[in-house]
Amino acid sequence: MSATSETVATQASTNGTSVLLSVDNVTLTFGGVKAISDISFNINKGEIRAIIGPNGAGKTSMLNVINGFYHPQKGQISYKGKTRRRMKPYQAASSGIARTFQNVALFSGMSTLDNIMSGRSLKMKRGLFWQALHVGPARQEEIEHRAYVEKIIDFLEIAHIRKQPVGKLPYGLQKRVELGRAMAMEPELLLLDEPMAGMNLEEKEDMSRFVLDLNSEFGTTIALIEHDMGVVMDLADRVVVLDYGQKIADGTPAEVQSNQNVIDAYLGVAS
């Protein structure tokens, strides 16, 4: 928290929905190479926001900036009205930002249950003493969180792999477990980095259903990176398009789809 300068945001967006996160003129360079240059966009509370673009467009870097893994050289991020220049990843986590990874980043030595339980770490408070005895409050706490985690397991329909080590699970299920782990944090903003990459049609449909349900039932705001245009068009409320680290379009799926820049840069390449 030390490195944050806080200003009360006065942003209340035009159409009545409130802005959860806004990215303002962010530039990120690696050893002189610009990964992201001067990008601004925002994410409204409760929406599903897609970030798309060809490979190397800076999508993942953008997520990394949002959750504090990279620190941008220029620009700032405002989240829930607070502006931060530098934020540690765990600070992002405790302020309600969770994410999944492009290449599944599960804790491979732990079971599905433990992986999702790990998402509850921030919510668990009991100290070493109670943990050591594993009676009273610590045990009670563990059980309460287990109950919450079980709801997620039920939600994601992964009851049958509850006790299996995640390392051996098929890829599609691993992605689901990873989503579960992020859900366990009860985030306000959930960043999904290519949640459907490498999945077959059925798995994609399941995952889309989970994302939509998650958004509507838990009210979680979601920002996702996705390659499958069909999926993006179905899921997203608004889409921002990046290309070579620059923003080339921003709007509803329909608007973006008809945007000439996008057709040239992305759809043109893809087809």
Binding site: F30, G31, T60, F69, A105
Partner: protein
Amino acid sequence: MEALSIGLDAFFLAPFRDMFSLPDLLIQVIWEGFVSGVLYALIALGFVLIYKASSVFNFAQGIMVVFAALVLVSLYNYGVPAWLALILTIGVMGLLALSIERVILRKLVNQHEAILLMATIGLTLIIKGAGQLFFGGEPKSMITEELGLSTGSSDWEVFDGIVIFQHIDIAAAVIAIIMVAALALFFSKTRIGRALRAVADDHQAALSVGISLNQIWAIVWFASGIVALVTGIMWGARSDVSFALEIIALKALAVLILGGFTSVPGAIVGGLIVGIGEKLFEVYWGPIFGGGVEAWFAYVLALIFLLFRPQGMFGERHIERV
């Protein structure tokens, strides 16, 4: 306040006053440090060779030094002529390299670095046990003269004092320099050497040169076996051939931290820094702590260094991706 300023003086100023008041001693200390630094550097060189080619952090390098020296000395003691013993020892080191590659490394391809490290720790136990079983645990003298190395010393009068140079130390320095040069030549001029460099960067590329990974591993282990033999002779000549050397060889780890795991120049510079640094520290600062600081100076130096530059002197900074 008084005590503090005395303490600060004792730590930060007095040692330097001592240095300049007896410059001949200083030169002697630096020379001693330089020579042990050369030996540290040689051990580190053995590590680097293997690490570069196979990402194996060879914990057994220290014991290989002891083992090579033991084989040499014992062969001579059994009546084998010195020159023949030297050749036979080289053969033994070659055999060792080959069997390590066959029996251990080949089975552990693509394993995590930590597992490979632990395998070499196991290897250390085996070599140590075998060495003690066959040659006995008691210290032995190196057959310095029989190998044609001078044991005399030369004096150098300077600053109203005398600095003593042991011939064997000079020889050690010279041989080390020759050895590094030879390795540099080997790496840059020979086909195998180039393949070795390629392997460090990219295993596939090495295969395309037409040399199998297995061969390369055998070769680097053999090369570091020879480096170990040379180190063993030099070290043995300065003190005795004993298993205590193994612990001292751990200092090469500190050297590697300073110089980086993959850099040959780094190993040399690191070795010299550690060697000279610990001698200076022992002589000029040691008394403050009650002596014996040589035992940990290298590691603490490495630790402090790591805190400021985790990637080593010559290493590159990595950008972590998620």
